[in-house]
Structures are given as structure tokens and as C-alpha cells.
Point group: C2
Chain length 123, copies 2
Amino acid sequence: MASSEQIVQQYWQAAHRRDWDGFAALLDENVVYEVPQTRERIRGRDHYLDFNITYPGDWQLRVDSVIGNAQQAVSRITFFVDGTSCEGICFFTQQHGRITHILDYWPEPYDPPYRHTAHIERY
Amino acid sequence: MASSEQIVQQYWQAAHRRDWDGFAALLDENVVYEVPQTRERIRGRDHYLDFNITYPGDWQLRVDSVIGNAQQAVSRITFFVDGTSCEGICFFTQQHGRITHILDYWPEPYDPPYRHTAHIERY
């Protein structure tokens, strides 16, 4: 049985290659996908597949890190599309090798607030 | 030796209680803290302590989840201050029970883009 970290690596490889059969094989039939920042939700493997297959643009992605325990894993990816890139953070829950829940975040750059410490540098 | 997940739970408990001695004891002397969204960085335990101690407001926090492997862990927290709340996602690396690196994200709500699938609900 693949580990949670391996399942998440396979998930992103399949997406990157548009291997939708391989992608679907990693998903539980009743997978739930949620985007807390927009409060969007998709229920079910077929619906979630449709969301991914119809996602516009000639996008590519790079996996930056995957951290997992027995049942859960989180990935940081960089997503490239139309000459721009953004960072995605995605939390996965799996049972018996199938992904049952996905929580997807896309943190955007923002201007730093005033800080009460002098010890901050920018990079 | 505490696990990565336990260290992160202790870190947030200490912060929530303003137990700055306990908080400092979890940090490596050369800890590096980074906020990718603002490109801010703080180097060193004393500087990072100062940042936390001087953080304004009567803030409180709730740990929503912690996922870790041997050396790394990630937390989702809800941060409450001045009658508002926001979500934080924080990636930790530890060595020998001390935190050496922190990557801190604060994903803000945004309007959902046009989706090419019909299978999305809002919550």
C-alpha cells in the first residue's frame, strides 16, 4: 500500500501528465474537494474529474514539498499558467489508498503590515 | 523525544499562553522564519521571539490540524484578533526537537473565478 506522501506525489504526477485514468484511480468515489478561500465545494469523483479536465490553460506544476502521516498529507506546489505562477497548498485525507478529502488553498502575495519588531528583512 | 506533530502542538500552546520561555525552548538558536506572501524573513531565535512578543492585539488561536512526518509538520490554525479571524498555515522543520525553519502563510478569501465545470457548490 502506498503511503499518504506517495499517493499525493502520484496525484500531482497524474495531473501534470493529464493522465486522467491514473488520476481517477487515486480518488475515492465520494471524494470531497473544498476551497476555503472561495467557499467552493465539489462532491464526487466524476464531478471532481470534470473540474480538473476542464480547467483552462496549458498549465504545468511543480511539487515543492509533501509532508504526510498515516492518513493525511499536505503538498506545496507551484502552478504555472499563461506566463505566471502561483503557490498552492493542498491538504489530502486518504483511506485504503484512495483520496477522500481535499482542502485547497492559494495564498496570494500581500503588502506586509506594520511590524512592531525591527528584526525583519525582505527577500 | 517529542514527534514533529507534538512539537508543533507545544509551539502553539506556548504562543497561546504567552509562555515565551516555553516557546523559546522549542526554537533552534538559528531558526529562520519566512512569510512567502510578503517576502519577509526573520533570522535567529531572539529576533523571532521579539516578533512574537511584540505582535499587537489581544490575539488568541485555535489549532485546527497538525500533520507531520519525522522532521517536518504543518499546522492549520484559526487566529482571532479584534473581533475578526483568519486562517494560518504554517510549515515547520525540526531537528533534535528544536524548530529550525518556519514557513508561514495567511490565505485570504477571494472571489471564485469562472469555472468551466457545472459541478461546484458554495458553502
